[in-house]
Amino acid sequence: MDSSGLFSQIVQYVITGITVGSIYAIVALGFNIIYSATEIINFAQGEFVMLGGLVMVTLVNSAGIPMPLAFFITISAVTLVGLLMERAAIFPLRDTTVLRLVIITIALSILIKGLAMFIWGKDSFALPAFSGETPIPFLGATIVPQTLWIVGLTAVLVVLLSIFFNRTLLGKAMSACADNPEAASLVGINTQRMVMFSFMLSAALGAVAGMIITPVALMEYDRGALLALKGFGAAILGGLGHFYGAVAAGILLGLLESLGAGLISSAFKDAIALGVLLLVLFIKPSGLLGSAEVSKLRKF
């Protein structure tokens, strides 16, 4: 193929990579938020994304609710799920072994997946694109408007979160909690509340990710597991607990996956991100930006 054809193909892969990478970045942020507050890895993180997409589908397609309103209702609904999860299953067992907590979040992810299958069945669902589907030409490739929404909203989320954690009282309290729970509680911060908020915030983030990706990638009941794995891969790659690391790693992972699938083989597309995850875990679990000594001090 001629070089301009290859170039525009690569541009297309890069666009796709940044798009999916944004989703991975959001999921990674969700992992980080809960991990920072609790040192728990929430295996059900992917289910928040799935719920975000499917709830929005029902509201918009079945109930005819206008998208902006449905957007906020969906976030609220999924946040509620996150809250219920934490109160019912995490909080009562906060002092138990890591192994048990791991299995509990796994069980929760299956439970939510099962509920989704019961409610929505096994079909894939689509959402209308937020602002139409006219492709925009770019360097020989095309960008669909939804991609701009995805990347744009991700950037907005990153900025909002940054402001939240650095400037607002609640955000700073959550950061303090993540950093040093004993000191935080000594200063009067209700650490249990912070854990609860971390689940709610992660759920909300997941919901947004689900809503913005469904127009381009559809959504079905069992998308959660793979999303969670890849998002976790991004979180680890960027160093667990590192905010900007997660974002960068998410994009990077998306690019690797997209370029790998396009240039090498698409049959094993999903395996690429998983392979990266394994490599990071085996070689440098503290991630690209993390510090090995700090990660040794972690509880698990």
Binding site: I40, I41, F43, A89, P92, L93, T96, V98, L99, R100, V102, I103, I104, I106, A107, L108, S109, I110, L111, I112, K113, G114, L115, M117, F118, A225, L226, L229, F232, G233, I236, A267, F268, D270, A271, L274, G275, L277, L278, L281, F282, P285, F300
Partner: protein, 322 residues
């Protein structure tokens, strides 16, 4: 290994021997077929129980080794005409090698990281089963796998497979029980109790963990090979994440460090769809709920039930007495 265990083995053998008589009762005549799958699954859960309960590790990807054994047996016998028993050994060898390659770095990880690593590993293998179409025929699956045979006797009926598989399963049970009640079993428990002290007593924790991982992988691989020759057709969905999770459930329901529990857990979960026929749409939901409830309230599995019930009622009993 203790008198109780010997009685248990004899009792189990007798039960297995006589169970096919239930085939006469038409309402449950298919139970024997289900029991074959219980036997296969029990091979895996016994190894997993050793890994989780005794070595203190977790694996969310064990379906991968089951699948490796099955596909190795299937591909080598159908495509290359290999002797099924040789194919089984090759499958075992492959699984053992993979267990070392993946296990060595993974077992240095702890808790969540290990869970994620095994999860990722299991998914990668699943993706390969689906994606390497030239080798595995992908989602279409793989058929015409021959029956096993020894010295001319062909295991071509459900009953002969039933006895063969349970024969092997019971041998594995004896093997595993022997290990547990030995210096190796105590070494494993010591790692669980205090890895610091265990290594001070000369226990090479890292090597033990990897050895148990290999054993559990090999047992799953053998089960997979038997599965392939029994059902004679394999396709990827059998070896998916959900099956790995079901395996986890079986081990937990039985109480993690209880090999008999692994057997009971395998039986319960394998028979579950039978008893909850309305479960069609609910099945994933039901499994998730069961796993959640068991992990939250019965951490020692069903064997912890008496203790939990006691704790529930004890305060009230005391109050009424005092």
């Amino acid at each position: 290994m203790g008198r109780n265990n010997i009685i248990g083995i004899l009792g189990l053998s007798l039960f297995i021997l006589l169970f096919p008589l239930t085939g006469r009762i038409s309402a449950i005549s298919h139970y024997v077929d289900i029991m074959v799958f219980v036997g296969l699954t029990a091979m895996i859960t016994m190894g997993l129980s050793l890994l989780m309960g005794y070595a203190g590790q977790i694996s969310l990807g064990h379906a991968a080794f089951y699948g490796l054994g099955a596909y190795a047996s299937g591909i080598l016998t159908v495509k290359y005409g290999l002797n099924p028993w040789l194919a089984l050994f090759i499958g075992v060898f492959l699984s053992a090698v993979l267990a070392v390659v993946v296990g060595s770095p993974s077992l240095k990880l702890r808790g969540h990281y290990l869970a994620m690593a095994t999860l990722a590993f299991g998914e990668i293998i699943y993706i390969i089963f689906n994606g390497w179409i030239s080798l595995t025929k992908g989602p279409d699956g793989f058929g015409d796998i021959p029956y096993l045979s020894i010295f001319g006797f062909s295991f071509d009926s459900m009953l002969s497979n039933y006895y063969l598989i349970w024969f092997v399963a019971i041998i594995m049970l004896v093997f595993v029980l022997n290990i547990i009640h030995s210096r190796l079993g105590r070494a494993l428990m010591s790692i669980h109790g205090s890895e610091l002290a265990a290594s001070a007593m000369g226990v090479n924790a890292a090597r033990f963990k990897i050895q148990v991982f290999i054993i559990s992988a090999v047992m799953a691989s053998i089960a997979g090979s038997f599965y392939a020759h029994y059902v004679q057709y394999i396709n990827p969905p059998v070896f998916d994440l959900f099956f790995s999770i079901k395996l986890l459930m079986m081990v937990i329901i039985g109480g993690m460090s209880n090999i008999w529990g692994a057997l009971i857990g395998a039986a319960l979960i394998t028979f579950l769809p039978e008893w909850l026929i309305f479960m069609e749409d609910f099945d994933i939901l039901a499994y998730g709920l069961i796993l959640l409830l068991i992990t939250m309230f019965l951490p020692k599995g069903l064997f912890g039930l008496p203790e939990v019930v006691y704790k529930l009622f004890a305060p009230r009993v005391k109050a009424s007495l005092g």
